[in-house]
Symmetry: C2
Subunit: 303 residues, 2 copies
């Protein structure tokens, strides 16, 4: 089960009742946070999300509305008695930016490991998360992230017995491990069926629409995408500032065959966002407006 | 008239319903902001305070809860179309810290002038404000600030006429200017009575109690002082972390002969602060708990 919480839906600047866009994912006691703008730590407190389990922080890009909350977050994680290392993934230049922001958070009780992204696509596996960082098209170097929880094939007791596999090995094999025991090598495919559909969330803000995003979001259970502008005439601004309209996001959701779309990262000037949703749903029916602390528990499909 | 707004009352970390401690002062269309923690720009929006008129930012010290909102604030000031220079006053090392934080706010439509404090006491006069920065005693280099609006003596029409001072010179003389006209030098004291009492606000957080603070706060109309801890047994913590209790602040208010004390910068663990106020008022009667957006308009005394 993957806990998803959209911590905020604002773009550019935090507003009294709209936190900056950021996402919290939780699986097996390990949290991923995507972006950390000014006030994100408060949004987390409001949403009841703990600081200590944050193992991975993915930064989309270095505009202040996506990272200026980092010093405060790190200190609050320290106050929450975190001691395990924190991995921060982000575009080229990440180490320099983190070091600069830590000028006001120099002493922490945990280590920070920075991973700088250099390619169009980079893949990581950590704590059961399969993370895909994919380059997008913004005014500055910027990435989106897909996060997947894979699901191995169904365990066959019959085949395990047929192959006289000792019971003590069933559990590690089920977890996908190859095991050597009493001179024999046992591999997961000896007892597992074909891999089953996992859980996939894709998060993308601050970009023009791209085929690369559609490919990355392919088959997502949940696609969280920016919709900076809802007014159709603002396509001009979207192109100028390298953002998207609601309708461009909906079109990508349709082409990527995602299950559900949440729109986020609204312009401060966007007030009655709901009014535009009928037009969005003409393009992609299962589209919803992001709201601060909008949450869902994504489960594996029933067998 | 001086508009005072205590933007937040939290210490250490911003909380869902308690912004970090910061102060906004407004006089003659020019704003001073004292400290800028994470979320301060949101507190300003909630309090209806504009960003463009911020001419002076006074930083008490470089702990994140007092300055991590700087990048966001600068960008929001830029979005508010400020173009005039911003003066930032703060402890030694200010330029380095501001430069580091501007890693994520590199492009601004206004210039920033940093003034680094080196002495125990430093004085500045800007936009009608008389600012006194006074060194306090915290875990790191830290200053408090007194801000005064001076008030010249009453203008005497009789004396102006007696001395046959041309009417065109009355206004500049009233403003305290010395004027030379047709070979004669006219000075303000020729037409003004003794200086009258002005308006004085003193702001001090993150310190142990000090005689130096009492002297700086002398005769303030409003003394805004930290009270990190209200529980008497926490005097041990106050000493350890170089903070104060409610009662130490109240004692300083009494000795400085201030008119009114607002307590602020409460520990996140302090919940029922009101319960402790009777004991505070036993020490200093005119003491109040700071509240987010607590405001007052301080006027010159009636003549």
């Amino acid at each position: 089960m993957l806990d998803v919480c959209l911590l905020g839906t604002a773009g550019m600047m935090p507003l009294p009742n709209r936190w900056l866009t950021a996402l919290s994912l939780k699986y097996n006691g390990s949290n991923i946070l995507i972006d950390c703008g000014e006030g994100t730590q408060i949004a987390m407190k409001e949403a009841g999300i703990n600081f200590k389990p944050i193992d991975i922080l993915c930064i989309t890009h270095f505009h202040a509305d996506h990272i200026s909350g980092l010093p405060g977050l790190l200190l609050t994680m320290g106050n929450a008695e975190r001691t395990e290392p924190l991995t921060i993934i982000g575009p080229k230049g990440l180490t320099r930016v983190v070091t600069a922001l830590r000028t006001i958070a120099p002493e922490l009780p945990f280590e920070i490991k920075c991973i700088e992204l250099n390619e169009q696509d980079e893949y990581f596996e950590m704590n059961g998360y399969h993370i895909h960082a994919f380059r997008v098209k913004h005014a500055v170097l910027c990435y989106g992230y897909s996060v997947e929880i894979k699901r191995s094939g169904r365990f066959s007791v019959e085949r395990a017995n047929e192959k006289e596999i000792p019971m003590r090995l069933w559990n590690p094999l089920q977890k996908g491990n190859t095991v050597e025991f009493e001179g024999r090598v046992y591999t997961p495919d000896m007892v597992l069926g074909p891999a089953r559909k996992g859980i996939k969330v894709t998060y993308c803000t601050d970009s023009r629409p791209l085929e690369h995003i559609v490919e990355a979001a392919e088959g997502s259970d949940l696609f969280i995408c920016e919709g900076m502008y809802a007014e159709k005439e603002k396509i001009v601004k979207a192109k100028q500032y390298k953002h998207m309209t609601f309708y461009e996001a909906a079109d990508m959701a349709k082409r990527a065959g995602v299950k559900e779309l949440w729109l986020t990262h609204f312009s401060p000037s966007l007030v009655r966002a709901d009014d535009y949703m009928p037009q969005v749903r003409d393009i992609f029916a299962n589209a919803y407006l992001g709201k601060d602390a909008k949450s869902v528990e994504l489960m594996f499909d029933e067998d």
